[in-house]
């Protein structure tokens, strides 16, 4: 997504900076003279608005009915459904082929325990095994297994597709060039935009959930495959060639195994994306933990939601840590003459435990299935605690709500809606010229002109306003926190670990605490977005500040700078390009979150997206999705261009 900054070009002999001022002035003039100018300057005039949604719908009807794609998609989905039925039977005993299951929960927990132990020792085994014990004891087994069965089916398919596309993109530059903008678009489109076409072609339910999950998880796999294949050392490849490998042998035996780490990090990303999506797929009738959470949140059952939330978080941590450990695992040899038992000790221990628990499950029912009435629940004490917390914090939350709504949110929102769209386009041109010259100015204005042409300008402005407010609040919280944490080695590591863990949580989880504290309203939306957006900010602030060349720090210390002088005069200026990457991610996360938060009440693009979903209006859904994507891509372009040129100036990287 990184473009080279173009600095030297000039339009009509004027430098970029002059053009930036020209457009800034134009923007101001348009704002000041708002009353005088015709209506077409304020809002996109009707002749500019095109019925993109209708065109897309017509296109989709054409490929679905006339080209008969519906039959293809039906065939694919029945294949996926068959796989889902098999896993469903094994994991929670759905009455489908092979009619064996359900496997006792204790045997599955033992499996998780052994996998954790094999990959990361006792600590990881306690997390992975403990997760499944918790789920079983809380009586959420069936829901969790519904969720997991989709991940188990979707992940290998997504990984395979990603590997194939990634390899093709690596082989053919032309294919990569076509694929790249599609991936950019795909990775910035909100989750819901994916769901609508899937509902059209597949319908609703588990198979639709699985398929939308696959589609959503493929792009990062393609990217990581490409990266991995590119990063294999040329000498290893030459070594392979000189060993007489043919092209296929080289790929199969040299390139792919050597790119193992990157490919497995891709697998990790696929799994995390799958989890995020499968939770959200509850909106299109995907049963499981996500659906339960959605229902409980909507009926404001906080205690039960927290229980489910904990399960989702535990699953996220388990999946993330295990796959990370797998990716980072280095091969180790066994001492000479080790027996087959020692070489495969994990496999044998697992087999023994698995069989043991399957047999025990037949005699001790509690080890087979935990019935609803046997399950523990901690929802009552949570409920009490939350009530107490809400009542105690009430004056504060009330005040925050009142202050934000009256003094920040409503005035800002009205301002965003009041500004003429032409003034915003001129302002974007100004930013573009300032940061990256003519090319950037064209990119920015083109994105937003296209948005204006869709006719969703006002909704877009509300989304932009929410994101702006949220990122600013996130920055006010995140920057000082990050700076403070960066002072010490220990505190940096701890906070980074927390941030990493928080980032693995599916976005849906962030709604629980804000709904708990603020109820269902605008402030809760902002709150959720702020929480979600602050994480990358803190993370990159710490990383930026910590990764400054130690010699520069030592030099500034020897020049007599104290802790704060070192921070503000040496660390911060060098860290800002990295911190801006954090801001960029924070904006991307906000855009995702704003759309998800729509179901607790917003009036922006997200709300329209929800409507499009309930009416399965593909055209509208995709147009809205692309609008969100355009906002994201524009911000990404501006910030990354700036960060890149700043790094060049500072001579880092």
């Amino acid at each position: 997504m990184l473009e080279n900054p173009i600095k030297s070009d000039s339009l009509l002999g004027l430098s970029n900076i002059i053009w930036a001022y020209v457009f800034l002035a134009l923007s101001l003039v348009l704002v000041i003279s708002k009353g005088v100018l015709p209506e077409g300057i304020h809002r996109p005039p009707s002749f500019l608005v095109f019925p993109f949604a209708d065109w897309i719908n017509a296109f989709f009807v054409f490929i679905r009915d006339d080209l008969g794609l519906i039959h293809v998609s039906r065939a694919v989905s029945s294949g996926v459904e068959w796989l889902l039925d098999v896993t469903a039977n094994l994991l929670y005993g759905k009455h489908r082929w092979p009619r064996i299951g359900p496997i006792p929960w204790s045997a599955i927990a033992a499996t998780a325990f052994i996998i954790g132990y094999g990959l990361g020792g006792i600590r990881l085994s306690l997390i992975s095994g403990g997760t499944f014990v918790w789920i079983a004891l809380m009586g959420q087994w069936k829901w969790a297994m519904e969720t997991l069965s989709v991940i188990i089916v979707a992940t290998p398919i997504a990984v395979l597709i990603g590997l194939i596309f990634g390899t093709f993109a690596w082989r053919s530059r032309a294919f990569e060039r076509i694929l790249n903008p599609i991936l950019n678009l795909a990775q910035t489109m909100p989750h819901f935009a994916y769901m609508i076409p899937v509902v059209v072609f597949i319908g609703v339910g588990p198979k639709a959930g699985a398929i939308v999950t696959v589609i959503f998880a493929v792009p990062p796999m393609i990217r990581m495959t490409l990266l991995g294949l590119r990063s294999v050392s040329p000498e290893v490849i030459e070594g392979g060639k000189m060993s007489g490998s043919s092209g296929w042998q080289l790929l199969r035996f040299v390139r792919i195994p050597t790119a193992r780490t990157e490919i497995l990090i891709g697998v990790n990303q696929v799994i995390m994306q799958c989890l995020a999506m499968v939770v959200l797929a509850s909106f299109i009738g995907m049963p499981g933990l996500g659906q339960k959470l959605l229902q409980l949140l909507q009926s404001l059952k906080i205690g039960k939601s927290v229980e489910i939330g904990i399960s989702i978080v535990l699953i996220a941590i388990t999946l993330d840590r295990c796959t990370q450990a797998w990716a980072k695992r280095e091969p180790v040899h066994f001492p000479k003459g080790s027996s087959i038992l020692v070489r495969n000790k994990f496999l044998f221990v697992w087999l023994v435990l698995f069989v043991l628990f399957v047999i025990l499950g037949q005699f001790i029912p509690i080890l087979d299935q935990v019935k609803r009435n046997q399950a523990f629940s901690i929802s009552a004490p949570i409920e009490v605690g939350v009530d107490w917390l809400v009542i105690t914090l009430d004056p504060i939350t009330q005040w925050i709500r009142w202050f934000l709504i009256t003094w920040v949110l409503i005035p800002l929102r009205n301002f965003y809606l009041w500004v003429p769209f032409t003034a915003i386009l001129a302002l974007l041109a100004c930013f573009g010229f300032k940061i990256g010259g003519l090319r950037s100015a064209l990119i920015c204005t083109t994105f937003f002109t296209l948005i204006a042409m869709t006719g969703w300008w006002d909704r877009t402005m509300i989304t932009v306003y929410t994101v702006t407010v949220a990122v600013i609040i996130a920055a006010i919280i995140g920057f000082p926190l990050g700076m403070f944490a960066s002072f010490g080695e220990r505190s940096s590591k701890t906070v980074l670990l927390i941030c990493d863990t928080l980032q693995t949580f599916p976005s849906f989880i962030y709604l629980i605490p804000v709904v708990m504290l603020f109820g269902v309203n605008d402030v809760a939306v902002i709150g959720a977005v702020v929480l979600f957006a602050a994480v990358p900010l803190i993370r990159y602030t710490i990383e930026g500040l910590r990764n400054v060349d130690p010699q520069i720090i030592e030099a500034s210390q020897m020049s007599g700078a104290n802790k704060f002088q070192t921070l503000f005069k040496a660390r911060l200026p060098l860290a800002i390009p990295t911190i801006m990457v954090g801001v960029n991610q924070s904006v991307m996360f906000s855009l995702f979150m704003v759309i998800i938060a729509a179901f607790i009440g917003t009036q922006d693009l997200g709300q329209e997206m929800q409507r499009a979903l309930s009416f399965t209006d593909v055209g509208k859904g995709l147009v809205l999705g692309i609008i969100v994507s355009f906002i994201g891509l524009m911000v990404d372009h501006l910030i990354m261009t700036w960060s890149y040129s700043r790094k060049q100036i500072l001579g880092i990287q």
Binding site: S233, E235, V236, I237, E238, G239, G240, K241, M242, S243, G244, S245, S246, G247, Q249, F253, V254, P257, T258, R260, E330, P331, V332, H333, F334, K336
Partner: protein, 346 residues
């Protein structure tokens, strides 16, 4: 060595890196200077190289980094396609081989050792060494046996199941050497094999390498940037600068008669007497009244090794003979002493 068979032969080989090298190369005269070509956006990695490498010979290609030596050896193995000229391996034009023929050639005749080892990180020592055999489709048992033999040869027995990252640099390079020898190649390319190792290990590996060479007697193209290493190992040295070969000759000749100023810079710091052999300075007595020694010296000895004789036995010439006792020519005492202690007027 004139009776030996030529294994690799190349004539007027060019390799340019850039946008459209072959079109560009045809548009410029052959004597265009390096800097002019660089200004046009092309890197001259190999320039007008003509060379014949004969069977059983060890040729060392020496040059500083960026001189094109690694590129040249990659052209010999056709890891890179050349821009102009011809390379023949065993009489076959390398450029005309199809992909399959090329792979066949590598599977049967070529082995290569790399500076940073180029080992497969996910395979243990045994599987790394057996890799070329696996590629050409040999059976499991056969290749295991052969790989174990090779591992034994490089002295890594007992470590068959180690993974590359569990080995030291020197050990990893032993694996690289074993792998390159597994298919019993006729031609052995070594691209700065010891440069990534620390000096003590490097010395040890050089000795090991000489031992192997004595046993196997292969045609070797050895790349290095270390002049001492070149002198220690080479039958012939080719010194490269800016892609062109400045001089290609025996170590004796390079030290005694550097062809260009660039070559002589390398030889400045070298103790010539340690390098030059008696057979490298053969001469015939010019006048009748010269005093010729009544005993012969061995042509294989260096001037340093002959120092005692040169100082004590006052003759004008000494007969030089090879190991079979056959006379090769005569050694001029005055010139030999100059090599030993410097020119007379110094």
């Amino acid at each position: 060595m004139t009776d030996s068979k030529t294994v690799i032969s190349c004539s007027n080989v060019w390799k340019l890196f850039g946008k459209n090298p072959s079109v560009y190369l045809n548009s410029i005269p052959e004597n265009t200077p390096y800097d002019k070509i660089a200004n046009d956006g092309y890197i001259t990695a190999v320039r007008q190289v003509s060379l014949n490498i004969v069977e059983g010979e060890m040729i060392v290609i020496m040059g500083l980094s960026g001189s094109g030596k690694s590129t040249l050896v990659r052209c010999f193995a056709r890891l890179l396609d050349i821009t102009k000229g011809n390379i023949w391996v065993d009489g076959e034009d390398l450029a005309k081989l199809s992909e399959t023929q090329l792979i066949e050639l590598r599977r049967k005749k070529m082995g290569m050792v790399f500076q940073n080892f180029g080992l497969l990180p996910h395979r243990n020592v045994l599987d790394n060494v057996a890799f070329p055999l696996e590629m050409r489709g040999q059976g499991v048992h056969e290749r295991r046996e052969r790989a174990l033999e090779m591992i034994e040869l490089v002295g890594l027995n007992g470590r068959e199941e180690y993974y590359p990252r569990e080995l030291s640099g020197g050990q990893q390079q032993r694996v690289g050497i074993a792998r390159s020898l597994a298919i019993e190649p006729d031609i052995w390319f070594l691209d700065e094999p010891f440069s990534a190792l620390d000096p003590l290990i490097r010395r040890e590996m050089q000795d090991e390498f000489l031992r192997l060479q004595e046993m196997l007697n292969k045609t070797i193209v050895f790349i290095t940037h270390d002049f001492d290493e070149a002198i220690r190992l080479a039958d012939r040295i080719a010194i490269m600068k800016d892609g062109a070969i400045e001089q290609c000759d025996t170590p004796d000749q390079i030290v005694l008669k550097p062809a260009t100023e660039y070559v002589s810079k390398f030889t400045l710091e070298i103790e010539k007497a340690r390098v030059v052999h008696a057979k490298g300075m053969l001469q015939n007595p010019t006048t009748e009244d010269t005093r010729i020694a009544d005993f012969a010296v061995s042509g294989e000895k260096t001037i340093q090794e002959l120092a005692r004789i040169l100082v004590n036995e006052d003759f004008d010439f000494y007969p030089v003979e090879n190991s079979d006792g056959k006379n090769l020519g005569f050694l001029n005492r005055k010139e030999a002493l100059e090599v030993l202690i410097g020119p007379a007027n110094a």
